[in-house]
């Protein structure tokens, strides 16, 4: 430190910091709590990372490797620890992957900060230097990155597999990675080529089979069976599909009403009227040529009754009921049709067309598939299968991460090596840069550089390798100019990681570093916890 201050003699007076006991205690407590959170997820980093089993308060069990999910379920109370949980959520929102990495980096940064604080450096100085270091880090990463074309399907698949390799479902990465790539590419709108709305990709989970049976469906999948009540059709070719938001059941008014029945003949008449009423509606539907009905769930009254189902079956109309209102937008977009809210507006031009609507038995349940849709909107559906609910849920989370990875690549078309290579390279370059800086800043940047080594260190540790040997070896290789040398966890040695096809989107790495730094800076600046209403 003496050497650092010598360059700028005045700074010794300005940047030192005397803390009083209470503030120091609070800061220490915050940092310790945040590090405890980081330590909890540390072991799940990397392809050989372990999973965590979480049993929630309501007795549910979740097994996952996804940092965001683990932290989300941890129910931490300490405010600083909570900030780390939020940090992982932000990373999830920004990049979708790297949720564990971001927390691990934040933990390592905090550890270094504690050291700096005990040396008496003012927290705002640390905070400012961290900011500078992170901006520099992003520059370094961007310089390392390899540009990518969206047409390069191979590279996209590679990066999706890197993300999937660290998950429970890693053995299926050869299946899931192309699937993720295809589904994202199919929803990219040519008008806005760098925007992907993941809501256009619907994930349907169905128990039974294995993850191997997971498939991409060009069309729609409903996780419910067609209505069988009256032996209606379950397969329809050349389907004309209507999405209706009204009900085919006896009328019901908003005003409370009651029908007064005074004798037997009247009762008969009422029954007949009801029948005619429904028949009238179904005839109207039939005249438009519609043969598949998707009926929105209704809370006010039954969407369909046994009677109407019976008539619909007679009219050879396939019925899928209880479609959620939230799904309507997705469905209408996919089918390229309009929802119909009133029987009066039931016209042929509002229908959607598909080559085949069919009910398929899967395991113990049934699903309805709509394929061969005419003028299909830019949406896609993925049907996930698995032998038990835990596997399915984890597969969904992993697929979500993989989708996010591909999305990142679509919005920022750069790839970067994985396997700890970028972190070591950053550490090296920032370390060199810190020697040029004056005063406390240089000291803080050096700590930042050291903190980044935590990623390769943890990767090696989780893979059962000797972390110190690996990290020093890595440093050595990077110093010799092999900027893509990284840990090859499978072989347990250091290789050129780009050649091993371990790649990840640039956005994941840059956002991990900037978000972690921002969070650490916020924790550093806190000197008191006040209880309020």
């Amino acid at each position: 430190m003496a050497a650092a201050t010598a360059a700028q003699p005045r700074s010794s007076k300005t940047e030192s910091y005397v803390d009083n006991k209470r503030k120091e205690d609070i800061r220490q407590a915050n940092i310790k709590a945040a590090r405890a959170v980081a330590d909890a997820v540390r072991t799940s980093l990397g392809p050989k990372g372990m999973d965590k089993m979480i049993s929630t308060a309501n007795g549910e069990v979740i097994i996952t490797n996804d940092g965001a999910t683990i932290l989300n379920k941890m129910e931490v109370l300490q405010p600083a620890a909570k900030m780390l949980v939020d940090l992982s959520k932000s990373q999830d929102a920004a990049a979708g992957d790297g949720t564990t990495t971001v927390v691990v980096i934040a933990g390592a940064l905090l550890k270094q900060c504690l050291l700096l604080l005990t040396n008496g450096i003012h927290p705002t100085v640390i905070s400012d230097s961290l900011h500078k270091a992170s901006t520099k880090a992003v520059d370094v990463l961007t310089a390392m990155a390899v540009p990518l074309e969206l047409s390069d399907r191979e590279s996209l698949i590679k990066s999706a597999s890197t993300s999937l390799n660290s998950k429970v479902v890693s053995q299926y990465s050869t299946l899931l990675a192309p699937l993720a790539v295809d589904s994202v590419l199919s929803v990219v709108d040519p008008a806005k080529p760098d925007m992907v709305d993941l809501r256009d990709i619907k994930i349907v989970k169905k128990l039974g089979g294995t993850v191997d049976d997971t498939e991409l469906v060009k069309g729609l999948v409903f996780d419910k069976k067609a209505s069988h009540a009256a032996g209606g059709p379950t397969r329809m070719e050349n389907a004309k599909i209507a999405v209706i938001q009204f009900q085919i059941s006896p009328p019901k008014t908003d005003i409370e009403q009651s029908i007064v029945v005074s004798d037997y003949t009247q009762m008969d008449r009422i029954l007949k009227e009801e029948r005619n009423y429904i028949l009238g509606m179904i005839k109207k539907i039939k005249t438009t040529g519609c043969n598949v009905l998707l009926i929105q769930k209704s809370i006010l009254r039954d969407a369909v009754t046994d009677l109407s189902l019976h008539y619909l079956a007679k009219a050879k109309i396939m019925v899928i009921k209880d479609v959620e209102r939230d799904d309507i937008e997705f469905i209408t977009k996919t089918l390229n049709c309009l929802p119909i809210a009133n029987i009066e507006h039931f016209r042929a031009e509002k229908l959607g067309h598909a080559a085949l609507v069919e009910e398929v038995s899967l395991g113990d349940g049934k699903i309805v598939k709509v394929t061969g849709i005419k003028d299909m909107g830019r949406t896609t559906t993925v049907l996930i299968r698995g032998s038990n609910q835990l596997v399915i849920d984890e597969a969904e989370r992993s697929l979500h991460d993989a989708l996010c990875v591909v999305r990142c690549l679509v919005s920022k078309r750069f790839l970067i090596a994985g396997g700890g290579a970028p972190e070591i390279e950053l550490s090296r370059q920032l370390g060199a840069w810190s020697k040029v800086l004056h005063g406390m800043e240089g000291y803080c940047v050096r700590s930042f550089a050291e903190a980044l080594e935590v990623v390769p260190y943890t990767l090696a540790e989780n893979a059962g390798l000797n972390p110190i040997a690996i990290v020093t070896e890595l440093r050595n290789r990077h110093a010799q100019g092999e900027i893509n040398a990284g840990i090859n966890v499978r072989k347990g040695q250091i290789t050129n990681i780009l050649e091993e096809n371990v790649v990840q989107p640039l956005l994941v790495s840059t956002s991990a570093i900037t978000l972690a730094t921002e969070c650490v800076r916020m924790i550093l600046k806190i000197d008191d916890i006040v209880n309020v209403r």
């Binding site: 300005t14 600083a80 920004a94 008014t253």
Partner: protein, 527 residues
């Protein structure tokens, strides 16, 4: 002869010395709590809610901290109130005002201990405050005439305000944002027209200013996603059937077809309402309440863009910026004022879709979209930006500008010191004390930055002994610097409000010689 009981059970009374002591202690405790947040190197606080959910807020804003404290000391409450008033009036300086009032009281405590009557102290403080204000108003810079210079003044003020907040790293960017937004207002202080939207994700640098208005809602199904020259009707009306709102009203019918008829009539009513709305000649309809499937389809058929379930705040602003009125009946199309804008379209912010109204009637309106790592960051960024906007809009009206960095306090202290020397009698002690309280502010700023405050303040005082000096504390280099060169400015209005309200609050607390605590109301559910 003892009087048995004057006050109710549990009510207590504290008199004279003890009462004054209690006020001093309370006020000083509050001051000590917030004083570490003062200045560019001030620290943040975590506010941990003891309510449900244990929500966490991280903030540097004095008003926010004080507002949420549990306080049982009457004098401390007075201080919290002045900070609130400061927040409402000028928006910034909420910490400074409390710190100054606290320091005034700290000085007063010493004087009271030296057997000077509180009234003497008060009159001394008053004279000092008057003198300090005059000193300030003589040294103001007013660039009202020169638009170019005035804008740079605004930028300086924005930067100074933001530098003590979370936005300090990106202060250049945000100062520009705030100045642009305020310049659009053209002198009005109606901050309603500036909408702030927070979207998690991205970094703070991704925040941007957008002309027009952004509504965080979705466009109904099957409706146009882009409308040019939109005529907008803003409404707050129920779009389901007009129910008879008498409890227990019911109709009796004797056949199913009658029920169908009633249902048909209900539908017809909805259709009529929609047609009435469409008859206003609009192509965009925004409702605060839900629009159900049926009317939504009718709107879609008519090619009208319908937005349902906009929040209260949203429609009020929308009505304001588009120049429309919120309607709830649609019988007289001519009496309803319809809003206009050039273009409505759907845009993506981060991952979410929003509806963007551009080219709105009220040209001042604009939207600032904040992006940031987490909700904590965004909330704090919003508070900081709000402070900056308040100060700027006040400065546009009162264009007088001062230097910052402890410069105004030193200028005032010097004048007040001189007044003390001229004033005969015990009052001069009070005036001197006032000057010491003023100097406390630069001292605290220096302390927070980890600097040697005693040394710096002494240097500063010496520098100010020369006429027309611009010296203040340069926290970054840790020395006395020229504030005009460093571009650190503050609004005169803020400083004046700090000075006057702090003096008033201190005076109010000093006058107290008895505290009567009323018996708390009994509550059973107390733990």
């Amino acid at each position: 002869m003892a009087i048995e009981k004057i006050l109710k059970d549990d009510a207590s009374e504290e008199k004279g010395e003890r009462a004054r002591m209690a006020s001093f202690v309370g006020a000083i405790a509050i001051t000590d709590l917030v004083k570490t947040t003062l200045g560019p190197k001030g620290m943040d606080k975590i506010l941990q809610s003891t309510g449900r959910g244990h929500g966490v807020t991280v903030t540097n804003d004095g008003a926010t901290i004080l507002k949420s404290l549990h306080i049982d000391n009457p004098a401390a409450k007075v201080l919290i109130d002045i900070s609130k008033v400061q927040d409402d009036e000028v928006g910034d300086g909420t910490t400074s005002v409390v710190v100054l009032a606290g320091e005034l009281l700290r000085e007063a405590e010493k004087l009271v201990a030296a057997k000077i009557h509180p009234m003497t102290i008060i009159s001394g403080y008053r004279m000092a405050a008057e003198c300090a204000r005059n000193a300030l108003s003589q040294r103001v810079v007013d660039n009202k005439e020169n638009a170019e210079k005035f804008k740079s003044d605004l930028m300086k003020i924005a930067r100074t305000t933001l530098s003590s907040k979370i936005l300090s790293q990106d202060k250049e960017h945000f100062a520009q944002l705030a100045v642009d937004a305020v310049m659009r207002l053209k002198g009005s202080t109606n901050l309603e027209a500036i909408q702030i939207i927070k979207k998690p994700g991205g970094s703070l640098m991704d925040s941007f200013l957008d002309e027009g208005f952004i509504l965080d809602k979705k466009i109904g199904l099957g409706q146009p996603k882009r409308i040019e020259n939109a005529k907008i009707l803003v409404a707050n009306t129920a779009m389901d059937t007009d129910k008879v709102k008498i409890y227990g009203a019911r109709v009796r019918v004797d056949s199913m077809s009658k029920v169908a008829e009633i249902e048909g009539a209900e539908k017809e009513k909805m259709r009529e309402k929609v047609q009435k709305i469409i008859a206003h000649g609009i192509n965009c309809f925004v409702n605060r309440q839900l629009i159900y499937n049926f009317p939504e389809e009718l709107f879609a058929d008519a090619g009208v863009l319908a937005i349902e379930h906009a929040d209260f705040d949203g429609i009020e602003r929308l009505a304001l910026v588009t120049g429309g009125e919120i309607a709830s009946t649609f019988d007289n199309p001519e009496s309803v004022k319809i809003g206009h804008c050039k273009l409505i379209e759907e845009i993506m912010i981060g991952e979410d879709k929003s509806i963007h109204f551009s080219g709105v009637e009220m040209g001042q309106a604009c939207t600032i979209v904040l992006r940031g790592a987490s909700h904590h960051v965004l909330d704090e960024a919003e508070r900081s930006l709000h402070d900056a906007l308040c100060v700027l809009s006040q400065t546009v009206n009162d264009t007088r500008v001062l230097l910052g960095g402890g410069w105004p306090e030193m200028v005032m202290a010097k004048e007040v010191d001189e007044l003390a020397r001229k004033t005969p009698g015990k009052k001069s002690h009070a005036i001197e004390a006032f000057s010491r309280a003023l100097v406390a502010i630069p001292t605290i700023i220096a302390d927070n930055a980890g600097l040697d405050s005693a040394d710096l303040v002494a240097q500063l005082r010496a520098a100010h002994h020369k006429e027309g000096c611009n010296a203040g504390i340069d926290v970054i280099s840790g020395s006395v610097g020229d504030m005009a060169e460093l571009g650190i400015s503050e609004s005169f209005k803020v400083k004046q409000a700090v000075l006057l309200s702090a003096t008033e609050a201190a005076e109010m607390i000093l006058r107290v010689d008895e505290i009567i605590t009323c018996a708390p109301r009994q509550r059973e559910d107390r733990m």
